[in-house]
Subunit: 221 residues, 4 copies
DNA sequence: CATGAATGAGGCTTCATTCAT
DNA sequence: TATGAATGAAGCCTCATTCAT
């Protein structure tokens, strides 16, 4: 968590900064890091080629800033909205997964950007950055699991760190499953205007329920 | 399953074809599709640049052929080695996951190549190919699940297709978890000569056991 | 001698002007003309990018001003400190070369800047400026030689202008020789804190002695 | 001495390779390393932008190859043409300096390229390459001096390595002096068709004579 | 059928300078 | 007068693909 834009970036007019960020976000949501093109960004945003470098040191810094911002935003959103007094672990987990999705529905591009992180692990240009973000994400869930364990909501034999990892990566399968069902991208699903928001939420809720069901009852009798 | 090399490719001497394939495999295992370089391949393999286009229509076809071959090989290996009369579902699942890993240990580069598929989903140059491979992979597991269900090894309420999907994507988390534990790449772990093969297998077996444990007993009492 | 800053430059506060000049000097001492970056200068000096153009017409004018200032300073220093009544020519020459070095030791960056001049001869952006500075430098030595000749200190057959040229370029080899001996830059040698100033001077004095020896006695008996 | 072009370079038609080399040589003779432009080269040579990289790994390799080739050529030329049985040291030195110049007259661009080396010392992109070439050049002269000393042609007190250095750098002042006299570049002087070759040689011979004279007789009586 | 040089678009980045505020 | 964002040309380099031999 240390990638910082240049001062110039903050001096921009709100309108221009937002336009730039929106374009950039779209680019990095649509393409992986290598394939994302700064040329395309400046073309779409209608700014000069050199301008990007007035705002950020280089492509990597720009990307990291984008990702870190989205991560922070998502975490904040979820933590802020978690129920204070859940009756049991599954209600808590359900809330957590649901908040995840709600954030996605509200911020489709950021959601996609974050989703992509897990596919950027072998880009050596980015170094250990993607991994560190992934770890952060796992840690968040692990904290959550530990909290649940501390409140005696879980089986005592569980390896908490392992369980946190599993549930976290697990929750990221939801978009994949949606894609599978719909034959379209998760992003397209979210942005599809022909489906009412409430339907989307309902469908996802159904999937989450099945997820949780698996974990509650196991596969066998 | 439709990417076909040109006839020229099959006319090659066995030695040359193998050399070419090995180099190509290394390249696509090490780099994602966009970053993989045909230039580098011809340099390393010591073949003419134009030759690639005698064998395949373009980069995409070459990549697809490679992937499809690896997929087929892995499936065959697993199916061929599955125990014929498993006593219960978990023994079967355990065998399946273990065979997965054993294949990885024997074919690290192919394993990495297949692992990368899931990171190529937004490379629009590849179209829907990565997805179709991922689906194929899910389907394989679903078939397996259905087979288990048919033999009354599972809870009857389960959505089999959903469950197949989950277990499959699940099994792909093993490399991720290894990476997390070791602070190195799965590929590096596999290729690490300082660790005896048996140790690697043992460690992974331990992880698989925990995976299965989660599914057997669930998270709570 | 004609590059003039704009009036604005002289209106600056002493502090700001010095800060700007120091940074600029560092940049042009460290990099050749083409590679020196105004961007870097404004970043380091913490001044506005446009300001440079309030002070100077362009990069070239800035550079020339810097060089001309350093030249004037060095000349003044040397002339001012030359012994008034030298006993013979070699004592005079020795003093001259020594003063050169003493100036370098006191003003490493300016020294480096002037040293670089001779490497800028083919930068066509600078036109004939580097040459004119080099000529100036030769002329200074020629004047010195003529003075010595007028006082009957030299062989009468000598071509004075030629001799001035030779001795001057000669004296500029001292840094080169130091670099050769030390395997480091002349600037690094000057700035090396682990060597006492007196040692540096002594070493250089030794080199100068050898220089002069060559000219005094020739190569053969 | 190890910069090697790619095989592709040697596979070029003699005509094309020569055209490319000529253009490149012109560029690096006219501009210092930083200012030399690969874009300009491909424009002038009429080749594709990517082609340079079929021949050489990068700008630096191209430059080094050019320099190393020229160095080798010049050394060979001089060594091959040195008189076998010189009567005394000054005749030998005279021959050496003259051969230097003759090579320049025959290969003006290569000469300029080599001359430029001594002005490239601070280009950090080139690393220690320029220095190593400069050292090589000094060494060549030092060998020469040692040979002369071994044959009792020199004063016995001389530091041979130092003397070699001086004479070598000395000999490089000839072009500078020419430039000073003619108010034009050494290269222009060489290429000036209005001056007969013989006149040029004569003029330079005269300068060399004065050089040697200085070393023979010293500055004073 | 093999070869490998040619191609030129596109990649990221740096630059000196301008100009509206 | 000071500012600093905007500019776009130019920098080096890599790429997949083509095509004449």
């Amino acid at each position: 968590m240390k990638s910082v834009p240049k001062q110039t970036f903050y001096n921009l007019s709100e309108e221009k900064r937002q336009r730039f960020l929106k374009t950039t976000l779209e680019e990095f949501a649509l393409y992986d890091y290598n394939s994302a093109s700064l040329n395309r960004i400046v073309d779409v945003a209608g700014i000069a080629k050199g301008s990007i470098y007035q705002y950020f040191d280089n492509k990597k810094e720009l990307y990291q800033f984008l990702v870190e911002t989205a991560v922070r935003e998502k975490f904040t959103y979820i933590v802020y909205n978690l129920p204070d007094y859940p009756s049991d672990f599954y209600e808590l987990l359900n809330s957590l997964l649901l908040l995840n999705v709600k954030f996605d529905l509200k911020n489709p591009l950021k959601s996609k950007l974050l989703f992509n992180i897990f596919t950027e692990k072998n880009t050596d240009l980015l170094g250990s950055f993607p991994n560190s973000i992934a770890y952060l994400s796992d840690e968040f869930m692990t904290e959550f699991i530990k909290y649940a364990a501390a409140n005696d909501l879980l089986r005592s034999e569980l390896d908490l760190e392992f369980t946190g990892f599993i549930i976290n990566r697990f929750s990221q399968l939801i978009p994949d499953y949606i894609e599978k069902q719909h034959g379209s991208t998760y992003l397209e699903f979210i942005l599809d205007d022909s489906i009412p928001e409430s339907c989307k939420l309902l469908e996802i809720q159904h999937i989450i329920a099945r997820f949780i069901d698996l974990f509650r009852l196991g596969l066998t009798y």
